[in-house]
Symmetry: D3
Subunit: 164 residues, 6 copies
């Protein structure tokens, strides 16, 4: 069981002791996609043109959620993140919105969960803002794209699993 740092030898959950880990600059990028009907996407695009707050609200929600990660994920360490951004890219085919989050910290542990949480909550907020028009939206392919810093070094995700 030693492969799972969050589980001790007795199979019990624990917050890993990072008190002896070096404080280094760390960065993580995560992504996700919310798939929707073309008609729903058209509403977002029309909104953009008219200063609609759909994308803006999802960005704020994602940034605030990245800061809240340690309150949501039981064994995450509290971290004073130094940067959090959420980017949105509209996709026509398949119809939907691609969400990308980047988080940075100078700390003893990484910010993968912060980036993944930022993406997840940004997608959930898009769902909430658009659900009056479309309840069949799906949130897909949330994953870690890249991380740098820390003892385990750099991780880069393999090429995208799907033809998007």
């Amino acid at each position: 069981m030693s492969k799972l740092s969050h589980i001790d030898d007795k199979g019990q959950a624990r917050m890993v002791d990072v008190s002896d880990k070096a404080v280094t600059d760390r960065r993580a990028v995560a992504e996700g996609f919310i798939r929707m009907q073309p008609e729903t996407l058209a509403l977002v695009e029309a909104g953009e043109a008219k200063k609609g707050d759909v994308i803006g609200a999802a960005r704020i929600a994602g940034i605030m959620a990245a800061k809240k990660t340690h309150e949501l994920i039981p064994l995450c360490h509290p971290l004073a993140i130094t940067k959090a951004t959420i980017e949105f890219e509209i996709s026509k085919s398949p119809p939907g919105i691609h969400v990308l989050s980047e988080v940075k910290v100078a700390g003893p542990t990484g910010v993968e969960m912060e980036a993944l949480t930022g993406v997840s909550v940004a997608c959930l907020t898009l769902y909430d803002m658009l659900k009056a028009a479309d309840k069949t939206m799906t949130i897909e392919d949330i994953r870690l794209v890249e991380k740098t810093g820390g003892k385990s070094g750099t991780f880069k995700a393999p090429a995208r699993p799907k033809g998007r």
Copy 2:
């Protein structure tokens, strides 16, 4: 733009006024899937046998997150939910864990976002617990399965988009 209840005529975000909506019993079910390497899944199953807390921690995190939904999703109403459950089902093919959440409330608005948030945070917690072994996991196909109650009535999702 009237199709998006969270956006007013000027394209501005708003929390919908539900003060005149009837308080009725409402229920929502959402699901999601975290795909992982077969070796990673084997670690979870071994843990289960040994009282490992991977699934248990994700369940608690998902339930607590469902209660926090209105703090995460900007325009969600605070709701005194009356039930929240998170269920996990191990899938061998494709390898991963299927997550199902059910939330209930007696209130003026539905609990779709609470169920979706519970699923999302449960999946994120599984990622966190297992990421020491596998950083390529993806969180997939988070969607609303069913909702009942309220003026818009019952919604049932179409059949699963993929061969899982």
Copy 3:
């Protein structure tokens, strides 16, 4: 000391017992003003034209803060508010932004504090978004404009104290 419901006969803080108060529809409107240099205001207006998120971020922050009121104000009751809006109006003379919040609930106690908190945090967010350009901004004249519902009935503020 009986005039202060939040202080008991011994001069001690208490959360007022509202368990015997009727659940009625209640509504409160509050306002405030953030005064700034004309050059700072020009930046906001330019941003508006270019989809800048200054106003949008302050609106989301104000709505979310209204929901958090009972976590901030020690003796406020938790309330499941049914509506929260934040409106902004640009003022050329004096230069600044007028902020108006409306909150509704069906409950045993009013939402004055929720409306005032929404206005305050929206103003603070405007300050934060603009402080790189201007640290001399002041937040002014936060007050209750109107409340309806509840045993104490309707309150309407006297005419604006200043020549704005």
Copy 4:
């Protein structure tokens, strides 16, 4: 638009990247005023004499809010503040209470928002504690008094705008 650090070139909100900024000692002082009827102020003073908790509750609320700033203001960085105080000074003319907050941190970014948030929530709490007696109170002239530390150096507010 480059004058607003919280808005990027596309007019989108962002949490500024402070990962390359030096960790220095930073301090900020903010102030505000809650104006009230002389009769309302007399209740506070009477309470003080009798160990009333009006001022005490507002102090605790302000300190706790300073710690919560990054949960309220969307683009504020989480900071491990090292000091937060809230001081109150009773003013007879105009009748009301002057609130002063000082916050310190050793960090890569300043604590202006923490001091301003502490003052705002202390004033809101005073309003809440006293509103049974007086709903016409106004919260006025919340502003940054002084900041030190960081690349932008020391800021001192110009002399008080009004004759208080």
Copy 5:
């Protein structure tokens, strides 16, 4: 296992479904004791005489914690409590402070946990305020004193277990 409502037939944690339970008036009273050196207690009493905020801060903290119970205790339902008080009684023998909390709600489930959480956090705050003088304080005998309302009816604790 059916005796534990928070554990289902598979031994899994769940938030009990209270959607079919009647909304009734419910009330709970809990108590606890923080034992300290006589010299430490003397400091509290001296503070009381001089408007010291030790007791006042603990009262506010206990009330705020009662409101946060559902964020702390994983399977507690969110409840809009209608009253929360924390009372303190100084005990000379044994030396310490007795803490009593009363919480009320109109809801489908009881407020035992809210009263117990209020007492616990009030005691922890007393510890924090006094720990510079005495680190050997102990928090003792936190228990439910009484509950009324709900299907299980009235509960009254047996006589105090110790000679206090």
Copy 6:
């Protein structure tokens, strides 16, 4: 009054200024006990054998609460803790569960309150999980066992006050 660092010369609560204190490695251990009927304890033990989540939920709740300490205890500094564990030991005589928490940080102030809060909330969660079977449980003898680091150096609690 100078013995109480959280109270200033005027008897007012304050968050101690730790900006000039050295950042050192600090560690605290706290303990507590929840006493219950032997029959209640038997339910926990039966659950353990069947992967019951009683202990697991209390562990997660205690760890999450340790991270939330500064939101609960008014004058605690926010700290980025680097470790938090909660251990449980079943006691047959007296019947109950002993709870032990260890917290670490590299910071300017200690983590005594974090360890004590983790123990308290873990005990409260055990109460909540088991209260359907037994409402007479008591939470007892929460105390600091040991602290190391910081200017005041090492503290070790005297031997256990009772015959457990």
